[in-house]
């Protein structure tokens, strides 16, 4: 309990640090963020007025506090491109990215857990080599290239699945029906490659470690069947594997930008890409802020759940 409380308290300065970095992004670039909204031939007094309107006339720490206060209430300003509140653009995109990440994490966990346990149980055999090899491919394959290869195979050559979008006729509305799920299959496979690799390796390492512990021969010598020993081993390996899975989910939220770009999947990655090319700083800042805070929260939850599942973990 004490650890959980300390862990929560520790997440607060980290989250604040994250907001500082996200806020500073705007000032890192060589380009004045105002050029996107100021006409080239603007009079000096007009520029002053625009500066005032956006709050750029105040000292930077004050600007940060004002930005943070608004951000905490979900106000990340207005998109320079569409003139809509940033949050109204981020939330629907986040929902679509989350859907992709959740399905992919679920798939990756189910596949990788089986592969990892089997590889560990058959340590050193051809089966181990094949599954470990699969894991290496998973972490080595650039997922944007895998996306293109999947499109070439399943859309160009076989014509089984759609190449881009998330619904017929480019509709942005999602339904859980067969028509829409066809659009989900390829992006999900592409983003699960890395998690499959990492979770397989983690599971294998964890189960191998468990198998080397004294309780395994002890259980066997008590005459317990191999299947029930497996249950013990899996239960002991579960907290670490679940933690790795949780972290992977977080990485997918922020890391699917490349896959989303290939599949024109209207999620946060696609939004980020657009905002960078249109120099739409409020959208860039708002999207990164929301995703990064989510990542901090996911890490926090993973730690808490892991402590709760595995009371042996005592952390300093």
């Amino acid at each position: 309990m004490d650890y959980i409380l300390r862990r929560i308290l520790y997440a607060i300065p980290i989250a604040l640090g994250v907001t500082v970095i996200v806020f500073s992004l705007v000032y890192m670039g060589p380009v004045d963020p105002l050029t996107a909204v100021t006409p080239d031939d603007a009079e000096p007094h007009v520029i002053e007025m625009i500066k005032k309107q956006y709050g750029f006339d105040k000292p930077i720490p004050v600007q940060y506090l004002i930005w943070l206060k608004r951000a905490l209430m979900g106000d990340f300003g207005v998109s320079l491109q569409s003139n809509r509140p940033v949050i109204e653009e981020v939330i629907p995109a986040l929902r679509k990215t989350m859907m992709l990440a959740m399905v992919a994490t679920g798939l990756a966990f189910s596949v990788a857990f089986v592969l990892g346990v089997l590889a560990a149980y058959h340590n050193g055999t051809w089966m181990d080599r094949i599954f470990t090899g699969t894991a290496v491919i998973g972490v080595s394959v650039p997922n944007y290239w895998l996306s293109i290869v999947l499109v070439v195979i399943f859309a160009v050559e076989l014509n089984w699945l759609p190449a881009v979008g998330m619904g017929p006729r480019g509709s942005g509305e999602w339904e859980w029906d067969l028509v829409h799920i066809r659009y989900l299959i390829l992006p999900v496979i592409a983003v699960s490659a890395i998690p499959v690799g990492i979770i397989t390796r983690t599971t294998r390492a964890c189960v191998l470690e468990m198998l080397s512990q004294e309780f395994v021969p002890a259980l066997h010598s008590k005459g317990i069947t191999s299947v029930r020993v497996l249950v013990h081993v899996v239960r002991n390996a579960a907290p670490t594997v679940l933690a790795a899975t949780g972290i992977q989910f977080g990485h997918l939220l922020g890391g699917s930008i490349l896959v989303e770009t290939v599949f024109v999947w209207p999620g946060t990655g696609y939004l980020l890409n657009e905002s960078i090319f249109r120099r739409d700083f409020p959208v860039l800042q708002g999207t990164i802020a929301v995703l990064a805070i989510f990542f901090v929260l996911i890490n926090l939850i993973v730690d808490i759940v892991q402590t709760w599942l595995d009371p042996r973990i005592k952390r300093g």
Binding site: W145, I148, V151, L291, F295
Partner: protein
């Protein structure tokens, strides 16, 4: 990035204890590598990729920038255009050879920079300890609190596109994990008795760092750093795939993959080639780094 730490390779060398003593550390490492055909094979492939990139001007059959409209999107195996032609009729083989130069440079440079920056921050934090450690490591924690790819994209978005900024962004995301590893091994080494003994016998701080600390922490830091090369290559090629890196007509695997993406309906097999090169290179680095770690880890 945390994922890399969780990996524990399972291949163990069956070496009699007497043999280890007789060979010494590097002798044992070399012996173990010679017993590991997978690592050797992928190491050789990697060397070939590097040689191909270095000698691109000698090996390339064509000019990488000369467009040749009649050869547009020619298929693999066309005489004179062994790997086909791209969307402007430039020879794919030539561009893949030249592309390796840029892509390998853009993938490796940030790792070296991050080794320097993250390594020195981590060793400093571990050696000095106390408030300095707190200060450095908490800042690292904040950078660590971002999903890797997201931070890289945010930084290139903010700094502006171009290869220099891309290198900076990737260096920034690779430094914190190296700093963490460096800090943790340095803290362990500092607590050993021989460091205390050296201090008691009058060694000054710089000698202790050079002789006693660095010699013991460099190995683990280097092993960890090699495991980041593949990540760095994938992310830097990915950012240039998005158009954040070098500009056309420069040959670069990521950028080539992006421009050829529009041609997958017409000439799919040529279009996937640059990505195949990124994949093979990154896989070679991963397997090589695993193999090196197995060979250098004396606990097995």
């Amino acid at each position: 990035m945390a994922e890399v730490e969780a990996l524990r390779p399972g291949a163990e060398a069956e070496v009699p204890i007497g043999a280890i003593v007789a060979r010494g550390y590097w002798g044992t490492v070399a012996y173990r590598l010679s017993q590991d055909p997978v690592t050797i094979a992928f190491g050789v492939v990697l060397i070939l990729i590097f040689l191909a990139a270095i000698f691109a001007p000698v090996l390339a059959p064509h000019d990488p920038y000369k467009t040749n409209m009649p050869m547009r999107l020619t298929a693999i195996g066309t005489p004179g255009f062994l790997l086909g032609g791209d969307e402007l009729g430039r020879d794919m083989l030539t561009r893949l050879l030249y592309g390796g130069r840029v892509s390998l440079f853009m993938g490796l440079t940030p790792v070296l920079l991050a080794l320097l920056i993250g390594g020195s921050l981590g060793v400093t934090a571990g050696f000095v300890g106390g408030k300095v450690n707190m200060g450095i490591m908490r800042v690292m924690d904040v950078f660590y609190a971002f999903p890797t790819v997201l931070l890289a994209i945010g930084l290139t978005g903010a700094l502006g596109t171009g290869s220099r900024n891309l290198l900076i962004a990737i260096t920034v995301i690779l430094s914190p994990p190296i700093a963490r590893v460096a800090e943790s091994v340095t803290t362990q080494v500092r607590a050993f008795d021989f460091v205390e003994a050296a201090r008691a016998s009058g060694a000054d701080t710089s000698t202790i760092i050079r002789v006693h600390v660095l010699s013991n922490v460099l190995g683990p830091i280097l092993i960890y750093t090699t495991s980041l090369v593949s990540v760095s290559i994938i992310i830097s090629a990915g950012l240039s795939f998005l158009g954040f890196g070098v500009t056309p007509p420069t040959a670069d695997w990521g950028l080539m993959l992006a421009t050829l993406r529009t041609t997958i309906w017409a000439n799919p097999y040529v279009a996937v080639l640059p990505g195949l090169m990124i994949f093979i290179t990154s896989m070679c680095f991963n397997l090589l780094s695993d193999g090196m770690r197995n060979a250098m880890d004396m606990r097995f």
